[in-house]
């Protein structure tokens, strides 16, 4: 478990690809620089999609938390 406190959370559990990544991008779009967004996704594709996009966009993927039936991604907006 991480002790990172997110500023906002996007719950994309149940969404098919590319829903979770697009939900994250939508939330980052309206976030302030330095905000941390937590994405909850149960889609395995997110494990590659999210790090790839975060790197491309220059945002930092602070942590990926593996939970029982989904993953939590913590992304800080640059």
């Amino acid at each position: 478990m991480t002790d990172i406190e997110p500023d906002d959370t996007v719950d994309a559990r149940g969404a098919a690809c590319p829903g979770p990544l697009m939900d994250l991008i939508g939330k980052i779009r309206s976030a302030e620089s330095g905000d941390v967004i937590r994405l909850l996704s149960d889609n395995d594709q997110s494990l590659t999609d999210v790090p790839e996009w975060a790197e491309e966009a220059g945002n930092e993927l602070l942590a990926v938390e593996e939970r029982d039936d989904h993953n939590a991604f913590y992304v800080e907006k640059a």
Partner: protein, 381 residues
Amino acid sequence: MTEHVVIVGGGTGGTVLANDLADRLEPELDAGDVRVTLVNDDPDHVYKPVWLYVPFGQREPDDGRRALDELVDDAVDIRIDRVSDIDTESQRLRFDGDGPSTEYDHLVLATGSTLEPDRIPGLTEGGHNYYSESGATDLRDELLAFTEGELVLSVIGTPHMCPAAPLEFVFMADDWLRERGLREDVDITYTYPIQRVHGNPHIAEWARPIMEERDIQVETFFNAESVDPEAETVTSMEGTELDYDLLVTIPPHGGIDLIEEAGLGDDGWVDVDKHTLEAEAAENVYALGDTADTGVPNAGSVAHYQAGVVGQRLASELRGRPATATYDGKTLCFIETGMDAASFVEFDYENPPSPAPPSEKLHWSKLAYNESYWLTARGLL
């Protein structure tokens, strides 16, 4: 007691459902046991797929408009009004102006998508689109005058109506410009928000080589952040800047605010059970088409199939029987690959799409369906 079914939204989903119920519940409607009201804020029904063809001079916006009262069965009450409040506790709708409120026993929300270009600074001034009647006619004027330079098609955000239409537009523009001898003087660039050219990996895998063959440049991981209409540039959240001479975008979409205000879901999309299409946050409320957050494409075929499911479920409920009909994610799309060829896909929650080889026959099938769509709206096809 008369049971009142209210459908909000007279697009494909709402209109097909109204006619479906008129047919399915004919005895109950005749006896006055059930009343069906279709609410729309425009007297016309609009068939949006026509807009793709408007910029290329092949169709007119009026080809996609028919009066609702000509399409919808007389057994359905049509109310031309705009809903101002959805109260799911007291099961009541209120309307703009002085119109009386109405109670419902069963509510179906089919309010669809609206364009929100103002979410991107500079987009309203700098961008064109074919996702509205005025957008499509303005774009037609621009395209007719466009003989050289950078044509950029940018998909800004998903979900958006008709996920195939951005691919169709660049394939058609490529072909149309070639036919007119202008292609060598025009660069076409297609941008998409994620790492491939379409949300669905199977369709993306199919489309990418066609784009390479046709010399359509691709920018993936491109989420437009702002448009500078003076400098004619579009800049992405990822830091890429593209020059354009003609910018065509799929603007950000949203549902109507009333849905969020009613606590039914975020961004105007209703949280539903993706099989029963019942709203998760309220009793006796269904959503269908773009309005229902199911994760399937925002496409007319989806609204059409979902309307059949909701029609069956409502009929069962009104007759005191368990509702058993469910939606399996069925989606069907023709995809234009030029001015005289098209592909076709069919998929559902379990089975991914496998695009058919493009052919002239499929292109004519698409055009033929667009004509026979009016039979779908009437609940006949």
